[in-house]
Structure formats: C-alpha cells, structure tokens
C-alpha cells in the first residue's frame, strides 16, 4: 500500500503543465489510488507560473506537497524549478526541460536569466538527481511543440517509479486528450521515454 507519493509539476501557462497533471492523476485514479491534486490556476491561461501538486497514497489529505517531500519534480521550464524549491528535498528526483521561456524583464535586459548549470547545481544541492532534457527539441522531433509536456511524461515513465504503469499512462493519455492528437502524443511519449533511458544508462 502506498502511503504517500508526490509529483510536482512546475510550468508556465500554456506549456501544458495542467494537462500533464490531469493525465497523471487520471492514471493514478484508474489504478484505484487515493488521489489529491492541488493547483494554482489563477494565472494559468496568461503565461504566469503554474504549479500542480499531484499526490497519491493513503496518508495524503492536503492539496499541497509538504516541504521537501516531492518524490519527483517535472519542471517544464528551467527557472520555474527554482520557484518551487520549497517542495524539493533529498528524496526528489528532478526532470527538467532545458528550453527556457524568457520572462519579459529578461528580454528587456532588466533582469538576468540564471545559467542552466547554476540551476542544476542548486537543485542538486537541495535534492536528489537532476536529469536535463531538451523536451522542446524532442517535441519538435515528435512533430509538434505542443506535445512537450508528453515528452516530459515519457521521461517520467522511464524513471521506472513502480507506481504508475506505462499501460495506465497510455490509457490516460487516450482518455485525457483529444483523440486526433493521440498518435502524435504516443510518439512524443516514446521519444521522451527513450531519451530518458539513454540518460539513465549514461549516468
């Protein structure tokens, strides 16, 4: 019996973080797990930071992950990982998309965007392993930039966390997203999955 398992998704509006949370939570629900999802939806549609806390297990009640207790962080935008460090701890494995979405002050040269190596090193000092993948490029390979979130999902599946099976995730993909994009999304899932396998075997 799973007592507590936490996936944190950090993204900016428009990247599909909320959809990703939907796919994961539907998969968990279909496996009969007790599920809780907490989200900050306020600014989602307009490019603001979005956080989704996808939690399952018997001892899970609150909608938010307690401090330091994420098992996995899926960061769809590199710097957004820094905004959620509160929830990262030693048990956290991070998968980070390396393509940034630059905030306006950075484009205007009024603020600096942190160096990717710096982000990784901060994350590693706080948490566990950090895997970096260029999910935007991989999504392009898969045929659509929109499936970047599903590339990240594929990478997550590769981690081999024993809780959600590939089967239920594929099923959830089919039920959570419009069917006309299914083929495309399965392709993105596989590409993410393979890329992550490579990274893990290199490590």
């Amino acid at each position: 019996m799973i007592k507590e398992y936490n996936i944190l998704i950090a993204s900016v509006g428009g990247q599909g973080g909320i959809t990703l949370a939907r796919i994961l939570s539907n998969a968990a629900q279909s496996q009969g797990l007790k599920v809780r999802v907490g989200e900050t939806l306020g600014m989602a549609q307009r490019g603001g930071p979005v956080q989704s806390h996808v939690r399952f297990g018997e001892d899970v009640y609150g909608p938010m992950i307690p401090k330091g207790r994420s098992d996995v962080l899926l960061s769809l935008e590199p710097a957004e990982a820094l905004r959620v460090v509160r929830y990262i701890g030693k048990r956290t494995t991070t998968i980070m998309n390396t393509s940034p979405t630059l905030p306006i002050p950075v484009i205007l040269n009024e603020a600096t965007y942190p160096d990717p190596a710096r982000i990784t090193s901060i994350l590693e000092r706080i948490g566990g392993r950090v895997y970096s993948i260029d999910a935007v490029e991989l999504a392009r390979e898969a045929g659509s930039l929109r499936s970047m979130n599903v590339v990240m999902l594929g990478a997550y599946v590769s981690l081999g966390e024993p809780i959600l099976t590939l089967d239920t995730i594929e099923e959830s993909l089919a039920t959570s997203l419009p069917s006309r994009y299914l083929e495309q999304n399965i392709r993105a899932l596989k590409i993410g999955l393979e890329k992550m396998k490579e990274l893990i075997s290199e490590a």
Partner: protein, 627 residues
C-alpha cells in the same frame, strides 16, 4: 456532470459543488465570475439544456442573488455563486431576504482566497453569518463540498432560510475522487402567494417580527446542524487532555500530520457548521482537554467563540491560535504550518529542521527571475495604454503626471512596466468615483478612469451617471474587449451571447454612456494608434466629463475563434536594433536575436500590427488583423 450514481470521479471542488447542485435538483444556477468560484457555472453551462436547468452569468453578484431569490420565492431550488468580494456586492439583498422566507432551497456558494491567489482582499466571509444570522457550512474538500451543497438545499427548504456554503481557493481548486449520489428531479410545483407581511420590509412592526422569526429559525436548526456530518468529534480513550479544533482546509493538513507522526491519542474536532456552531460538541470537547489548538485560516472566528465558551463555562483551558501568536491571520496554511503549531501544542518539535537547506532554498528563490504578468500578445489594452501615453505626451504631460485610476480586470495590467499607467485599484467600478474625488480635491492634471466592459456593466454605470450629473471633468475610458477576460473569458453583456452560448444582441457601451448624460463619447479601435491617440487628446481637452470606448476583442478570444491576422514580420535590413518597439510594448511575441535585432515569433504574434506603428524605421510589416 451527468454521471451515474455510485461512480467515483476526480473532480475539482467547484465541479463538485456543481454536481451537488444537480443532485439536489437545482433549477436555477446564477452568479458573476470571480476566481476561485467561477468553475461552478462554467461546468454547468454546457449541460444546462440537457439537465433542463437555467444557468446564467449575471451582470453582478447582487443581481445574481436577486434573481435566485425570486426563483426561490416561487419554490425553485437555486444556487448563487461568487467570490468573496462578490458577497459584499450581494449582501444588501442577502441580509434582507434573510428576513423573509424562501420556498425553494436557496444556497449561496462563496469562495474566499487566503494567500490571494486571484487578487483582492483576504476576506473571511464567515463573519457575514454574524451580520445576517444566516447558517453556513465551511467545507474542506471536494467530496465534502458536494455533500454540503446537497444537504444545504434540504436544510434551506426545510427552515425556509438561505444557507451559505463557503470554500477557499485550495478547496475550490483541489481535485479528489468524488462519489456521485442520486440525482433528484429539478421539476417542481411552483407558485407564489402574496404576503406582504413576510415579503416586504417597510413596516417596522413586521420587520421586527421577521427578525424574531429569523432568530427562531436559526435556533431551531441548531440541533440539526450540530449532529450533521459536517462536524466530527474524535475523543480517544487515552487522550492526555490535548486537542485540536479545525475548520476548512486545515482539517486535511491536521489529518496528514496525525498520520505521519502517528498522533493517535490526539483529540480532534472538525467544525463544518460555522453558524450556528455545534456548541454541544465544543462543550464536550473543552470538558475533556486542558490545552487546545484552533486551526482556521484568516480570522480567529472559531477561536473567539471557543474562548468565550471556555470563559462562560468557567474552565481553564489554554488556547493556542492567533491570539497568542501561534498562528498567523495572513496567508494560507499548509502541512508545515500545522505541523509547527502542533509541535508547539505538544511541546515537542515535530518537524525536522535543516537551516542550511533552507538557506539554499531562500537563495534559489532569489535567483528565479520574476515573471510579471504581461498583456497577452496582441492584447488591445496594450494598444490603449500606448496611445493614451502618446496623447498625454503630446499634451505636455510626462511620466507620472496625469492620474489614471485603474479598475479590476486585465485592464489593471497597465500598472506594470513598460506602461506604468494605472495608479489605483479599489473595487469593481471604483475607478470612476475615485477619479471624481481626486478632481474635487483640487488635482488639476488630467484624470482618466480606465475600466473594462464587464466591470463597467457590473458597477460602472451609477458612477458614470454621477459624473455626468455633477459635470465632473474626468475622462472615462472603457476598454471594451467584449468579454470578462481576467477571470477566464466568461461572456459579458457586450459579447453577444450568454453563459449557455445563446446568441443575444451585444449591449453597446456608448449608448449607455450617452444615456447617462456623457455628452462627448468617442468610439475607437485601439489597434489604430493614431486615431486612438487623437480621441484621447480630444477627450482630455473637453471641459466636462467625456468618454472613450476602446473596442477590440480580447486577443485570446480572437485566437480561439480563428480571427487572428497574419503575423507581423521584422525586416532585419531595416531594423536598427533600437528596440523601441520592445521597450514601448513588451509584447511576448517579441524577442531579440543574437545580433541585437528584433524578431517576432510567428506562432505567438496575433498580427495586431501595433508594433509596426511604433517602429520609426518601418522595419515591421504588418497585415492588420481581421475585424
């Protein structure tokens, strides 16, 4: 929303409220958009026809409540939804309807917002029960929210009294498995008997009679609420005199701390019926413990009551809460806040501390670049504020000289760089009254009130009439993007359709402005910077009140409807890398290439063409967006 009894679905708190209303056989669901309450209506609207119920976005919360109250008088079951700020708007009617009887169940769903995820105040709406006497159930998760709505309808009808169901952002937007119950028919026998002794308030004698009856109803409800499932007392045999009382979302955090630290001996009491409070349960609780912690976000509502009961009973129970500084009145709670407070109550440190890690975390947050909310690519408001600034400059007013009172909605984003235009944001419609007051105080610079269409319909019309009536020299700028954008693009009276998508004639704001007595009303397309600037210049030169209507559809809506134009293109030969366009507009479709020149991302650009009008070197080619 249409699902079989017994099935379990992952639902958001607000979806669950919607399902609860359906199960209760609701006939009318009406509200005004406001995060975090809006999803109740947006969930029900698409299936309204199939369900045979009336679902409506009203022009404001008071109107929504009045409509619902009318239907409830006739015996229909009604749900009204609003965010906390909306309760203030509707309260004038709510407090009066409380005095009469409702024949059909009338449930008011209000969602508060601790930690201000959506903007506006951290209002604790539980205190409205003290002013209106009305009962309230404070819910802690989506399943509880659905159960509360279903039962609130029954209580409301049985005791002929409106009932509040209150949630907070974290509950309203939380998802969990919700078990569907049976659906009752919404078809009811309706009728309304004239009885002015109950349904009018003009006679003091009748009014006091009604007040007495209201108090009696609440008194009669007490035992029912007391024993309802919304309160839960857990008093273990081996309890050591220590207990926790929790209300709202904190109940979840408490459970989680108890589970993790195996605090099985702790006495706990959940209070869901915050009015009338379960006084017997509270008595039973304070009888057995000598130390308690009260967990409730925002104000010490339960805490004050419990303290008064302890004092009345002549007991000596130490209360940990807001009054002794254990917990804060500001912001939201979470697992860690509750764990810390419990540690204090138990006199042991429950949380693992790691100050070094916390230091790295604090630094990390500082490294994360700010992500201020910009106007979307092609947002008409960006063009409006740009033209407004050009007009002011041309009249000789530099940055920070003219006063612009802003209003609620995407329109307020003009307060951010690079525009730096709006000075104030108070409440729906307040921009206009504020502008008049500034003028009366003797400010002799230009004063412009900016307000969105939905906000104008909501609360902008009375202050407009006031301005015209008293001939106050201000400019009212109505940014008419044909939608209630900020809260998620719900229709407004200018949209041309209703909540369920039924087509209507758009209600044009210039006609309201003119009928309100504003003599000089100009209507422009903000994408046309030159004409918009000229309209502002002319309005600012007027001696009395004047208005400019900036009409252009919200670009997110235009995108969804496939109404976008061709993306604009920068000619790198002509671009001198001055970046004037970027600094003036900060459009998210723009970025800077390695050679310092402007590039426009064709998948993000809406083709609004505004940047092309800014470029002094004609480096941007624009094909204007369709109308």
């Amino acid at each position: 929303m249409i699902g079989k009894e017994g099935s379990v679905r992952l639902l958001m708190g607000n979806e669950s409220v919607a399902r609860g209303a359906v199960e209760a056989g609701v006939g009318v669901v009406i509200g005004y958009p406001g995060t975090p309450s809006s999803e109740v209506i947006s969930t029900l609207a698409p299936c309204a026809e199939e369900l045979g119920i009336k679902v409506e976005w009203a022009v404001n919360e008071k109107v929504a409540f009045d409509v619902a109250a009318g239907a409830a008088l006739a015996g229909c079951r009604c749900l009204v939804t609003m965010k906390s700020a909306g309760l203030n708007v509707a309260f004038d009617s709510i407090i009066s309807v409380a005095y009469g009887d409702v024949n059909g169940g009338l449930v008011i769903y209000v969602a508060d917002d601790p930690a201000v995820h959506a903007g506006m105040e951290e209002q604790d709406s539980r205190f409205f029960t003290k002013v209106s006497m009305l009962p309230m159930i404070d819910v802690f998760d989506p399943q509880d929210a659905k159960d509360a709505v279903v039962e609130a309808f029954d209580y409301s009808e049985r005791f002929k009294i409106p009932i509040f169901v209150r949630s907070t952002s974290r509950v309203a937007h939380m998802r969990c498995g919700v078990k569907f119950g049976p659906v009752r028919s919404s078809v009811r026998e309706v009728g309304f008997q004239r009885d002015i002794r109950r349904f009018t308030r003009a006679s003091p004698v009748w009014c006091m009679e009604q007040h007495t009856r209201l108090n009696e109803k609440v008194e009669k409800m007490k035992p029912h609420f007391e024993s309802s499932r919304f309160n839960e007392l857990h008093m273990p045999e081996n309890n050591a005199g220590v207990g926790v009382i929790a209300s709202g979302v904190s109940w979840n955090y408490l459970h989680e701390v108890v589970a993790l630290h195996n605090l099985v001996e702790l006495a706990t009491l959940r209070i869901g019926t915050v009015n009338p409070l379960p006084e017997k349960l509270i008595h039973a609780f304070i009888d057995k413990v000598d130390r308690i912690l009260v967990l409730e976000e925002l104000e010490p509502y339960v805490e004050l009551h419990v303290k008064a009961m302890i004092a009345d009973a002549g007991k000596n129970v130490r209360v940990y809460g807001k009054k002794d500084g254990t917990l804060r009145r500001v912001g939201e709670y979470n697992y860690d806040v509750v764990e810390r407070a419990l540690g204090k109550l138990l006199g042991t440190e429950l949380a693992e501390r790691n100050p070094e890690l916390d230091k790295i975390r604090d630094e990390a947050i500082k490294v994360a670049p700010r992500r201020p909310l910009p106007f979307c690519p092609g947002c008409p408001h960006r063009a409006t504020y740009t033209a407004m600034r050009q007009a002011l400059r041309e009249l000789g007013y530099g940055e920070g000289e003219a006063i612009i009172t802003g209003d609620i909605g995407c329109t307020i984003l003009g307060m951010h760089p690079p525009f730096n235009m709006c000075w104030t944001e108070v409440s729906m419609g307040a921009s206009i009254g504020l502008a008049c007051g500034l003028r009366y105080a003797g400010i002799d610079k230009p004063i412009i009130a900016t307000i969105g269409d939905s906000t104008f319909f909501h609360a902008g019309i009375p202050p407009t009439i006031n301005t015209a009536w008293n001939d106050t020299n201000i400019v009212i700028a109505v940014l008419d993007n044909r939608i209630t954008a900020m809260t998620g693009h719900q229709p407004s009276p200018s949209s041309g359709y209703t909540a369920t998508g039924a087509e209507t004639e758009p209600i044009e704001i210039e006609r309201i402005l003119e009928a309100s007595g504003i003599k000089k009303v100009r209507v422009v397309d903000p994408y046309d910077l030159q004409h918009t600037k000229e309209a502002f210049i002319a309005a600012l030169k007027e001696r009395g009140p004047s208005a400019v209507v900036l009409r252009r559809m919200c670009s997110l809506v235009a995108r969804r409807r496939g109404l976008l134009g061709t993306p604009s293109v920068v000619d790198p030969e002509r671009c001198t890398a001055c970046l004037l366009c970027l600094r003036t507009l900060s459009c998210p479709a723009m970025s800077v290439s390695e050679d310092g020149k402007m590039v426009i991302d064709p998948s993000t650009c809406t083709g609004c063409g505004v940047c092309a009008q800014i470029c002094p070197f004609d480096a941007i080619t624009a094909w204007r967006q369709k109308d």
